[in-house]
Each structure stands twice: as C-alpha cells, then as structure tokens.
C-alpha cells in the first residue's frame, strides 16, 4: 500500500486554552495552566492533520512515541498552536517534529511517531483483549 505523503509536509493546529485543558482540571491541586497532556494532544493532532486527508478509506494512524519538552506555562484564555512537520517515513511508521507556541513565547518542542493502521484489523485485534 502506497500512501500519498511526503517528507516536508506541514500542518498547524490552533487552540484557545480553556479551564478543561489545565493541569487543575486533571487534579484540583495542580495549577490552572495548560497541561502537558493537553499539549501532547495538540502535538499529536497537528501531526495527524498532515496525513489524515491522504489516508485511504479504512486507514488511520495511531501514536506510538512522544518525546516532548514543555518549556513554558500558558494561562487560560490564551491562544496556543503547534506547527508539525513530517520528517521521516519508514513503510507505515511516520515521524514528525513539532514546535508549539503561545502568544508570548515558544512553549514546547516534540518528536512524535505514528503508525498507519487498517482500522478493521486494528479494532478486531484490540477488542479481542476485551473478550479474553
């Protein structure tokens, strides 16, 4: 199966930080700033956005590795965005580099791998676990 994706493709994803995206929403003892798991989701989504439209029907891609530095804190109400670039393709493994920013400064950088899957096979295999 050939996929119509190339090294150098990019995508940008924007989001405005809401209370539900804060560390405080995950645990009331944590501060009201954009959480690392939320930044992880933004980084993954920006990467997926590059390839999503190029995957044939019945295919998707799942995250397998995230190596993320969260460099600065962002308060609620501020805009954040991630710029993702496709940097490597090895059969079904696709690698990305991502930089994330808020309105003031760079807030994160990451390397991320996704694996292209056939949804039917993947779901069948996974849900066999639930029946075990």
């Amino acid at each position: 199966m050939e996929f119509d994706i190339k090294v150098g493709m990019t995508a940008k994803l924007e989001h405005t930080v809401k209370q539900e995206d804060t560390a405080n929403a995950l645990n009331a003892s944590l501060p009201k700033v954009y959480s690392t798991p939320s930044l992880t989701a933004l980084v993954e989504l920006a990467s997926f956005k590059i390839i999503e439209q190029h995957l044939p029907k019945g295919y998707s891609a799942v995250g397998t590795i995230v190596n993320l530095k969260h460099l600065a804190a962002t308060p609620v109400g501020m805009k954040v965005w991630a710029n993702a670039t496709l940097v490597d393709i090895d059969r079904r493994r696709v690698s990305f580099k991502i930089e994330a920013f808020d309105e003031n400064e760079k807030i994160g950088e990451a390397e991320h791998d996704r694996f292209i899957i056939e949804k039917g096979k993947f779901s069948k295999k996974t849900y066999e676990k639930a029946d075990a």
């Binding site: 501060p31 009201k32 992880t40 989701a41 998707s60 891609a61 590795i65 993947f122 849900y127």
Partner: protein
C-alpha cells in the same frame, strides 16, 4: 525543605478506559482505543502522586518533559494503570521512570521530568502573561 524526598518513592494511578479517553474522542486519530495523551495524563498523575505527600505546604510539581512509548492498544472498558518511581533528584528537577499496563500486557513506558514549584509564585507568573 522537601527533605522527605527520596529516591524510589512510587505511586500507582489507575482508571477504566472510557469512551472519552479514546483517540477518536480527542480527535487524535480515528481509533477507539486508549489515546496516547490520556496514557500520558495517567503517567503524570502517578508521578505527581508519588511525591506530592512529602512536599512542603504550598509546593507542587509541574510536568516539564515526557518521553513516552505507547506499545499496545487498549479497548474501552479495560482497566489501565501506571506506576511511577522517582529515580533522580537534581535540586528542583525530579525524574521518574513509569510503566503502564492494561489487564493483558505492558502498554507503555516513559521517562518523565517534573519541576517543584511554589504554587503562588507559579500562578502569579503564569497569570501575568494573560495581561
């Protein structure tokens, strides 16, 4: 301060995978399985829980780096848990090793860094950005 911090402090966090925890629900894919950002949230929670009880009042920790491998897929309805162990203390920087499992197998491994913060100072600094 924080003199009760010591290597090998550990904690476990667990949850049942729900629809809202899937990659499909987050939009990070189309798969109805436990999403990587949710696995990372569970891992961070275990690390946070390992050290929070021994920190001085008014102090907390925030995540600054995570290097996670997501090794296996977990469907909705299955229990997952993460166990974090404090493996390095460098002044305010704490490093944890974390393993995550579901009822069948090892689903993830990670090295995670957190910084000890003064909650008030941290909040004040973050909020000045919004103005």
């Amino acid at each position: 301060m924080d003199s009760n911090l010591k290597l090998n402090l550990s904690a476990k966090s667990e949850q049942i995978v729900q629809d809202k925890d899937t990659a499909k629900a987050l939009g990070s894919g189309r798969a109805e399985v436990f999403a990587t950002p949710r696995m990372i949230a569970l891992m961070e929670n275990a690390a946070y829980t390992a050290v929070q009880p021994v920190l001085a009042k008014g102090r907390s920790t925030v995540g600054t780096a995570i290097n996670a491998k997501h090794l296996a897929a977990t469907p909705v309805g299955i229990k997952v848990w993460a166990k974090a162990t404090l493996c390095e203390i460098d002044r305010k920087k704490l490093t944890f090793t974390i393993e995550a499992h579901d009822e069948t197998e090892l689903i993830g491994t990670a090295v995670h860094e957190r910084f000890i913060i003064d909650e008030q100072k941290f909040a004040d600094k973050a909020n000045t950005k919004a103005k």
